[in-house]
C-alpha cells in the first residue's frame, strides 16, 4: 500500500498517545466514541481554574468579570468555528437533542410559544441510521404527545433511501431529525436533500452533528438546518460540554427546557419569566471551564484547518477500507462507493463475534469499539447484534491503520475460523 502524505504530525500534542497496552504502543481507533485531548485543551482548563475561576454572569467582583468574559469568548469562538450565530451550551449532544424534544413537548403542553406544539397524528421523522440519542428522545416525545414516529430507511449500501424519504416526509411532518454522519457507517448523509424535503413540508430540522463536527469543515449557516447538536468530548474537547446551534428565530420560539438560576428575568413564588436565548436554555451553573477547554479545542482544530483534517482522515479511511476489503470474511457495513465519508468504518468478521475480535485486537494494542455503538436498529437492519468499529482522528497515522489491518488479518486464523 502506498503511503498517503500526512499534512501534519500532531501526535506530540496528545500526551496519552505515548501509552503502551500489553507492551505494544497504543493504537487508538476509538475516537468515534470519545476523542483524546491535546495538551492545549488541558492547559486552557487548568489555566482558567487556577487563575480566573469564579461564577459567571453573577456578581461584580474582578474574577467573576474575567470568568464571564472568558466564558462568553469561548461561546463566540466555538459558535464561530461552527459557522453559527447562536450557540447554547449543553452537557453534550444527548442533552441537546433531549432539550429540543422536551422543549417541543413543553410547547405542546402550553408552555411558551405554540409554534412547535404537536397535535396527535403529527409526524416526527428520523432515519434508520440514527444513534439512540437521536431516536429514543423522539420515540418518547411521540409517546407523550400522540405524535407518530416515521423512519427513512437505509439501503443495503448504507446510503439513505431518498425516494422513500420523499414519501415519508409530507404534510403531517413537523420535525425531521437526522444525523449528519452515521457513527457506524461513517457515511455523510445528503443534508441538502433532506433539508429541502423538510422545508417543503414546513418541518423543523434537527441535525445530529456529533460525528461531522470533529472531522469536516462544518458551516451551520450554510447547511440550512434549524438546529444542530454536538459533543465536545468527540472533538478533542472536555467531557461534560457540548452545544445546540440554532437559527435565532427558532431558538426564540422554542420554550425553555431545564429551569433554575441564571435563565430568568423576574421570579415570584407563583411564576417565572425567562431571558432570551441562549440564556433561557442555560439553567444553573454552566460547564464553565469545559466551555473554555472546548474553545481551545476549536482553535486547535481551526489551526490545523478543517479542510486538512478532512483530507487527512479521508486518506486514512480509504487506506482502511481498501485494507478491510482484502481480508477474508470481513464485511463492511454500508460499503457504498462514491459517497463522502469520514474516518469511521464498522464491520463484521464472519464466524468471530465482535467482542472476540476486539479482544484480539486489544492484545495487539489496537483499541476499537465493539457492540452496537448505540445504533441497535441499524445493526438489526444489517442482521447483526454487534459489529467492530474503527474510527480515526487528527492524530491517527497510516502506520496505525496498517498495524490494525495486520492484526485483524490474524483474527480468523486465531479463532480457527475460515480457510
Amino acid at each position: 500500500m502506498s503511503s498517503t502524505p500526512t499534512t501534519f504530525d500532531v501526535r506530540a500534542d496528545f500526551p496519552i498517545l505515548s501509552q503502551t497496552v500489553h507492551g505494544t504502543p497504543l493504537v487508538y481507533l476509538d475516537s468515534g466514541a470519545t476523542s483524546q485531548k491535546p495538551q492545549v485543551v488541558l492547559d486552557a482548563e487548568i489555566g482558567f481554574l487556577t487563575r480566573a475561576n469564579s461564577a459567571v454572569h453573577r456578581g461584580a467582583h474582578t474574577l467573576a468579570g474575567e470568568a464571564t468574559e472568558l466564558f462568553e469568548d469561548a461561546r463566540t469562538t466555538v459558535a464561530g468555528f461552527l459557522g453559527a450565530e447562536q450557540l447554547v451550551w449543553t452537557s453534550g449532544a444527548t442533552f441537546a437533542l433531549n432539550l429540543v424534544a422536551y422543549a417541543i413537548g413543553n410547547a405542546t403542553l402550553g408552555r411558551g410559544s405554540s409554534r412547535f406544539a404537536l397535535k396527535p397524528g403529527d409526524e416526527i421523522v428520523v432515519t434508520e441510521t440514527e444513534h439512540h440519542a437521536n431516536l429514543i428522545p423522539w420515540q418518547e416525545l411521540a409517546a407523550r404527545t400522540g405524535a407518530v414516529l416515521r423512519v427513512i430507511p437505509v439501503r443495503d449500501d448504507g446510503t439513505l433511501d431518498l425516494d422513500a424519504a420523499a414519501q415519508v416526509i409530507g404534510e403531517r411532518t413537523r420535525v425531521v431529525a437526522f444525523t449528519h454522519v452515521s457513527n457506524v457507517l461513517g457515511i455523510v448523509n445528503p443534508i441538502a436533500e433532506l433539508t429541502a424535503l423538510a422545508r417543503a413540508a414546513g418541518a423543523l430540522t434537527v441535525l445530529d452533528a456529533c460525528q461531522s463536527v470533529p472531522h469536516l469543515p462544518f458551516d451551520f449557516a450554510a447547511l440550512g438546518v434549524d438546529l444542530a447538536a454536538f459533543s465536545g468530548h468527540k472533538m478533542l474537547g472536555p467531557y461534560g460540554v457540548g452545544g445546540l446551534l440554532g437559527r435565532p428565530d427558532v431558538l426564540a420560539d422554542l420554550p425553555p427546557f431545564l429551569t433554575g438560576g441564571s435563565m430568568v428575568t423576574t421570579v415570584t413564588l407563583e411564576e417565572a419569566n425567562f431571558l432570551p436565548a441562549p440564556q433561557k436554555f442555560e439553567a444553573g451553573t454552566q460547564p464553565v471551564s469545559q466551555a473554555i477547554g472546548l474553545a481551545a479545542a476549536a482553535r486547535y482544530l481551526d489551526g490545523l484547518g478543517m479542510d486538512a483534517v478532512h483530507a487527512h482522515e479521508r486518506a486514512l479511511e480509504r487506506r482502511m477500507l481498501a485494507g478491510l476489503r482484502e481480508i477474508e470474511g470481513v464485511r463492511i457495513l454500508g460499503d457504498a462507493s462514491g459517497v463522502e465519508r469520514v474516518g469511521v468504518a464498522s464491520f463484521d468478521v464472519e464466524g468471530v463475534h465482535a467482542h472476540d475480535v476486539g479482544q484480539f485486537l486489544d492484545d495487539r494494542g489496537v483499541a476499537v469499539r465493539v457492540g452496537h455503538h448505540c445504533a441497535k436498529p441499524l445493526h438489526t437492519r444489517f442482521g447483526l447484534t454487534a459489529s467492530v468499529r474503527a474510527s480515526t482522528s487528527v492524530f491517527t497515522t497510516d502506520d496505525e491503520i496498517d498495524v490494525f489491518l495486520d492484526a485483524l488479518a490474524g483474527v480468523r486464523p486465531f479463532f480457527g475460523v475460515g480457510a
Binding site: 456578581g59 461584580a60 468579570g65 430568568v264 423576574t266 431571558l275
Partner: protein, 147 residues
C-alpha cells in the same frame, strides 16, 4: 484618577443621591415609555419621553427606578442632556455613549457633549458595570423607537 475614585466620581454620587427627572410624568398622546431591567443585579429603570407633535424633538424625559448608584446616576444625567434635542442627535448620542462604555477605558466621553454624564467614562473599565450605566440609555433608545 484611578480605581474606585475613577468609577465613583463625586458627580456620579451626587446624581445618585439627588436624581434629576426622577418622577414619571403621566402618559399622554405623544409619550412613549420603556421599562428596562437588569436581571443580574435587579437594576430597574422606567423612562418616559414625549416628542413634539412633528415627532422630531425630544421633550420631557422623566423616569423612575431603583438600583445601584451607577444606573440611577446615569438615568439622572441622561435626562439633563436630551431635553429639547432632535431625535437624530439623540440616536447619535446614545451610539457614542455605547461605544465609549464598551471601550474598556480607551474612549473618554466629551464633557461638552455629555455634560455630567461624561463622569461615567470611568465605568467602561468595569465590564460588569457597563450594563448598569447603559440601562437608561437603552430605555431612551427603545422609547424613541416607539414614539
Amino acid at each position: 484618577m484611578s480605581g474606585l475614585e475613577g468609577l465613583y466620581q463625586e458627580l456620579l454620587l451626587d446624581h445618585s443621591k439627588r436624581p434629576r427627572g426622577k418622577e414619571l410624568a403621566p402618559e399622554e398622546g405623544r409619550t412613549a415609555t420603556s421599562h428596562q431591567h437588569n436581571p443580574i443585579c435587579g437594576d430597574d429603570v422606567t423612562l418616559r419621553v414625549r416628542v413634539t407633535d412633528d415627532g422630531g424633538t425630544i421633550r420631557d424625559v422623566t423616569w423612575d427606578g431603583s438600583g445601584c448608584s451607577i444606573s440611577q446616576a446615569s438615568a439622572s444625567m441622561l435626562t439633563e442632556i436630551v431635553e429639547g434635542m432632535p431625535r437624530a442627535e439623540a440616536s447619535a448620542l446614545i451610539d457614542g455613549f455605547r461605544t465609549a462604555l464598551r471601550s474598556r477605558g480607551e474612549i473618554v466621553l466629551d464633557e461638552d457633549v455629555y455634560l455630567d454624564a461624561a463622569a461615567l467614562s470611568g465605568v467602561s473599565k468595569y465590564v460588569a458595570r457597563v450594563k448598569c450605566a447603559m440601562l437608561a440609555w437603552v430605555a431612551l433608545e427603545d422609547a424613541l423607537a416607539r414614539a
